[in-house]
Symmetry: C2
Subunit: 186 residues, 2 copies
DNA sequence: GTCTATACGTGGATAGAC
DNA sequence: GTCTATCCACGTATAGAC
């Protein structure tokens, strides 16, 4: 039996990029095949459930990446302000200033979005919870922190929609700039 | 030659619903056919450019509807507060409390989004401009008004994404509630 | 203006060799 | 674990009758 061409992690990274770029319906098996360098039959070997299972696996993979790169630093021993600044830097890089789409949004607005409802609900609430905690640490009430955290995720997702629709990066940039100032403001 | 079964306006309304429900890639010609009661060949009679032309026509049709139902009332001789309240009521109804998607978002995140870039840019800026003007009328500076208006559209789009992804209407509801309080606040 | 019928590619998916 | 080859349904699109 031939050795694996790419590690599972690398395959998932390539699938992540493909789904973000093309969306769930837009990413055909032919494209996913080209993105990974694996023919369709090989993809089915790794993901017997087909495209739906690929998307679910990519979502779980992304959750792991975010836990490590986005949420864990928010629990570090630094000032809340610094941690928020670092988070927004990471987000800016991850979305490439608004040029790259959000996997959550791509699956949330797919035709089979009900298939992904559970993992998406978990993904959004994990993100919101992490932001909420740092807001509380900065002195906001639990209720206010919750509102700010939900609002942050909502604004980032909305800004990505306007940026994608118009091709104008300013919507994403302004939103991040504003969040830097307003998230922890009293 | 047989009489038209549905008026062009009614056809566009049905196509609008279909695109909002299924998205641009998700809405197949078979579904658009079922939605309008016209077979595929008849749809091509009305829209020789195919699905892309259908979406463009629907977008123009929606622009007309919004001009009349959403933007015109914002220029009426009423207090800014009342006009904003009315606008948010209309928006709440239009998105059915978050249950129905936004056509702009569906096209903005489609694979051929570049095809729709010009009309989408126009559509978003028309919406933003209308809100900006009423904010100015309420006493906000032009710059502040612009920011609030962009933010309103961004938050509505983002709230729709989270609501669709999680199935939880609270994101949309809270966003509208918050906008009612905060849009014109000094 | 609507229909039936059809063309032709591509979609997701599988069988089985190596 | 990867490949070639293939299946069949459905995708968009068109021709031509009424």
């Amino acid at each position: 039996m031939p050795a694996a061409l790419l590690s599972r992690e690398e395959v998932l990274n390539r699938l992540l990029d493909a789904f973000r770029e093309r969306g769930y319906e837009g990413a055909s098996l032919a494209e996913l095949s080209a993105a990974t360098g694996l023919v369709k039959a090989s993809l089915y070997h790794h993901f017997p459930g087909g495209k739906s299972e690929m998307a679910t696996a990519v979502l779980a993979h992304l959750d792991g990446m975010l836990a490590e790169q986005l949420y864990l630093p928010l629990r570090a021993d630094l000032s809340p302000a610094k941690k928020v600044a670092a988070m927004l830097d990471t987000i800016d890089t991850f979305y490439d200033g608004g040029r790259k789409a959000c996997l959550f949004e791509r699956l949330a607005t797919s035709v089979d979005h009900t298939t992904f409802r559970r993992p998406l609900t978990r993904a959004f609430s994990t993100w919101i919870d992490a932001v909420e905690d740092v807001c509380v640490e900065a002195g906001l009430s639990r209720a206010a922190a919750r509102g700010r955290a939900e609002d942050l995720v909502i604004r980032i997702e909305g800004a990505l929609v306007l940026t994608a629709g118009t091709g104008n990066l300013k919507f994403f940039e302004r939103t991040l700039t504003d969040l830097r100032k307003s998230l922890l403001a009293r």
